[in-house]
């Protein structure tokens, strides 16, 4: 079996707080999971759930209270291993007295490139993230979105095997987000492993081979997006217009949701054709019939609500 690109075992992180730092807040508990080579893995979770904490632990910006992790088979304390990983921090900020070109060049110097190769890679990266024309401008003049792109550029400039991105879409307009999505897909095509955190569920659904949902510091669920919400669709939805009202349809439209003259009706797959005939007979004009797929969002909200309820219960009883 091929070794996992990222292997996390029982990773736990407590933050001390309060007077004399005696109390502890557990921001991550017993995280155990793996990211396989070549897959795109998404960390999902509400703000403060522990996504950034996990990533910072991986990058050794903070140190675990318990547990361990390995990247590319090496312990995370192995500095040489950092040659093969790229990292985009959350809300990146770089030296504002440097230009984008200078920042990338600076970071590139920590890898063993020849001066020529370094130059080539830097200009290539600037082009790739769409900052070609702004390369000579000092970063202090950059917008948030532009800084995000510089951050992404420095993360992949050295062609790493594993790319870790903390909220890569934040601060970007739809065009920027599209570009980042394309870059991630390109990385996947190149066989790189990508781990990124986000709270934009549609991005996760679109990009990830697997997702991990972290709520309240715990891993609540892990698997392919479709797996997590069940393979089966929950029936069909009929969108129709109704001008008149007849006795026969009243029963039907009582269960439908109405917006102006339009109605949406959920029926089981088996009842679909009967419902269509009935509506047709009542003079309704059918606009569309679609499959109702459960969304990641529903699953997500369900998990968040459950966690909150549990936390409240703990507070009430545990005081």
């Amino acid at each position: 079996m091929a070794e996992a690109a990222i292997d996390i075992e029982n990773l736990t992180k407590d933050y001390p707080y309060g007077f004399l730092q005696l109390k502890k807040k557990r921001s991550l508990e017993g995280l155990t999971m793996q990211v396989q080579t070549g897959e795109v893995f998404g960390f999902l979770g509400p703000n403060g759930a522990g996504k950034s904490t996990t990533i910072k632990l991986l990058m050794r910006l903070i140190f675990p209270t318990a547990g361990s992790a390995r990247i590319l088979g090496k312990p995370i304390s192995d500095i040489a291993m950092h040659r093969n990983i790229g990292y985009l921090p959350e809300q990146p900020y770089f030296y504002d007295y440097l230009t984008a070109e200078e920042v990338l060049d600076y970071f590139a110097r920590f890898h063993d490139f020849s001066a020529e190769e370094r130059r080539a890679r830097v200009s290539g990266m600037l082009k790739k993230v769409g900052l070609e024309s702004a390369g000579q401008i000092q970063l202090r003049k950059y917008s948030k979105g532009m800084l995000q792109r510089v951050g992404l550029a420095q993360a992949i400039l050295h062609d790493p095997e594993v790319v870790v991105l903390d909220e890569p879409m934040s601060g970007l307009d739809p065009v920027g987000r599209r570009e980042v999505r394309d870059i991630i897909l390109e990385l996947k095509k190149q066989g790189k492993t990508v781990l990124f955190s986000t709270h934009i569920l549609s991005d996760a659904e679109m990009l990830c081979d697997r997702v991990g949902v972290i709520v309240g510091g715990k891993l609540q669920g892990i698997g392919a997006p479709s797996e997590m919400v069940g393979l089966k669709a929950h029936g069909m939805e009929i969108l129709f217009e109704l001008s008149g009202v007849g006795e026969s349809v009243r029963a039907v439209i009582a269960q439908a949701t109405r917006t102006g003259d339009r109605y949406r009706l959920h029926v089981e797959e088996s009842d679909l054709y009967a419902a269509i005939e009935q509506l047709h007979a009542s003079g309704a004009r059918i606009l569309s019939v679609t499959q109702v797929k459960p969304s990641l969002e529903e699953y997500f909200m369900h998990l968040v609500a459950a966690d909150r309820a549990q936390a409240a219960a703990v507070e009430v009883s545990g005081k």
């Binding site: 990058m59 910006l61 990983i85 921090p89 900020y93 770089f94 007295y97 110097r109 890898h111």
Partner: protein, 258 residues
Amino acid sequence: MKRAGIVALNTFREAVRDRVLYNLVFFALVMMIAAILVGQISIDIEDEVMVSLGLSAISIIGLLIAVFIGVGLVSKEIDKRTLYALLAKPLRRWEFLAGKFAGLVLTLTVNTAAMAAGLFLALYYVKHSLQRTDAVVLVAVYFILLKLALVVALAMLFSCFTSPLLAILFTGGLYVAGLFVHEMRGVGSALISPGLAAILRGISYLLPNFENFDVMGAAAHGRSVAGALIAQNTAYAALYSLIVLSVAAAIFSQRNLK
């Protein structure tokens, strides 16, 4: 080690692009001109005034840079999070610290050299010739630089585990304490118990002794400084800085960044 050098050069570049530094150096040059003018007023001590004023300006400005920017070296990178992406590179934390230290010391060397050049120009302008005895002013400038390097190390140490404001206060306080090492040793046994006096004596040897680097009087009066002292001070500054930076590296290596 080469990676520390990359960080060092970038630190130097940051300092050069920081306009505050230019203002300070400009101020120092103004002081040189003032020294010439003041020299005209004080009859019989023109040379002493020029050297004292010039060295004082170099020392004070150097200290301001060493303390304020020294503290900011680490804390600014943590605050602004510029450090995060950097630590994901194959760069050890202690290499980062070493690079920052070297970068600021390099900056200070350039600044101090520029101001010293200004001082020598002013001296030449007033005296119309420079003698061998004026070389002691160069030694005084070198000692100032040694002292500044040690101050930077201390500033970095404190900024690794306290807030920037506290780091500035501690560094400043330790610097002033280091100027009174002599007093500490000579505290009369009439005032305090012999045990306490012994403890004070011991502490006085451990504190960074900044009195060692004070040769302004000799420079002002053109008296030479023993070559042995130059060697000893260099060794002292190097050794003490190394100790301080090692402790800083140890603390920083364990620090959870926010």
